[in-house]
């Protein structure tokens, strides 16, 4: 499983994290990335068309 250990070298998550500090707000970079991904998923769910809509339209 050598490729797994080389992947861990690219993303070494056991090292101390990076934190963004602004006034009393303190957030880790990884938490910020996850939060952005969650918001992006929510927006995608809102604005992307339902899967299968085109085929339904064609059938109509």
């Amino acid at each position: 499983m050598g490729w797994l250990s080389s992947f861990a070298t690219i993303f070494p998550l056991n090292n101390l994290g990076h934190y963004l500090h602004w006034h009393f707000l303190l957030i880790s970079r990884s938490n910020l990335i996850v939060t952005i991904l969650m918001v992006a998923t929510f927006l995608a769910a809102l604005f992307l068309p339902f899967p299968g809509r085109r085929s339904r339209k064609e059938n109509q």
């Binding site: 992947f7 994290g17 880790s28």
Partner: protein, 315 residues
């Protein structure tokens, strides 16, 4: 006969449009399958945090003076556990929600006498220690005031505590058996025997780690490690994970209160914030019954974005 007035935030208009089949079981199965595969893939690629457990052995070897200073605080009653109150002792009132002292309602359910449980009893369990046994006998036969004097003298001198050649050295006068007790406890801790002595004794299965965890948390070693990893309460620590792993981002609101006045300076913050979060949770549960708030989805019209095709067809 009067017609009942239509209330837009409570009543649903009768739907007169068309219907189309929708397989929610199929969608749920696909969603769970995708989540399962994503979880598996991310676990294979990134693994999970693998911090070694902090034991009394690791602590006392890494920071023997901090351990011996904490052992002294267990003797003189100034440790966090010693002054905690319920459920461990009656040393303080504990957190209060208005006039209600919540800890009092629970009572002393896990009685801990820091002198006896953290120092004397573990030392008694050490075999073949004639010098220590003599000192423990001296402790046992002394009056309460004599013990207090010994501890006070040792505590005063421990400001200049040193750790030399594997021993705790404190130049204390009239401290009775306390220097031998603290040094022996430190030796015991460094060997790993204190971890065992504090865990065992609570039944056949040794799964009760209350005492060693409390002892470790009374020192500054664990707190320093937590601060380094951004896990302290004033660092939004509830949301964070060790290393660079993403943490519990969904606890942002719970963590938020700890960062602002008056909670960030209150000794009562835990119970106050628990109360606020309980209130907010009840509010969320009762949202359909709260006028104004229950109209937010109708007024923001986000549903019209989701079902935009349907509303376009209506035009």
């Amino acid at each position: 006969m009067s017609t009942k007035r239509f209330r837009p935030d409570v009543d649903a208009p009768e739907y007169k449009g068309g219907y189309s089949p929708y397989d929610i079981i199929k969608e749920g199965t696909i969603a769970i399958g995708v989540i399962f595969l994503l979880t598996l893939l991310l676990a294979i690629l990134f693994g999970s945090p693998d911090e070694h457990a902090i034991t009394i052995k690791t602590w006392s070897n890494a920071a023997p003076i901090d351990f011996a200073t904490t052992a002294t605080s267990e003797l003189n009653g100034t440790s966090t556990t010693g002054g905690y109150g319920a459920p461990y002792n009656n040393a303080s009132d504990g957190p209060a929600l208005g006039p209600i002292h919540v800890a009092h309602l629970i009572g002393v359910r896990i009685p801990i006498n820091t002198v006896k449980d953290f120092v004397i009893d573990p030392l008694k369990s050490l075999p073949n220690q004639p010098v220590l046994d003599q000192n423990l006998a001296m402790w046992a036969s002394a009056s309460t005031s004599t013990r207090s004097t010994w501890i006070a003298n040792y505590t005063k001198a421990s400001a200049n505590m040193k750790f030399t050649d594997g021993h705790v050295v404190v130049n204390a006068t009239d401290a009775g058996p306390v220097p031998v007790m603290v040094d022996s406890l430190t030796q015991m801790a460094r060997s790993g025997a204190l971890d065992q002595a504090l865990v065992t004794g609570s039944g056949f299965y040794t799964t009760d780690f209350t005492k060693p965890l409390l002892f470790v948390s009374d020192g500054t070693y664990l707190a320093d490690l937590a601060t380094k990893q951004h896990l302290s309460g004033d660092q939004w620590g509830m949301m964070n994970e060790t290393g660079s792993y993403p943490g519990q981002a969904w606890l942002w609101l719970y963590s938020f209160w700890y960062q602002i006045p008056p909670f960030n300076t209150s000794g009562n913050a835990d119970i106050l914030i628990l109360g606020i979060m309980l209130l907010l949770s009840v509010g969320l549960l009762l949202l359909p019954f709260i006028p104004g708030l229950r109209s937010i989805p109708r007024r923001t019209r986000v549903y019209r974005i989701i079902w935009r095709e349907h509303y376009q067809n209506l035009k």
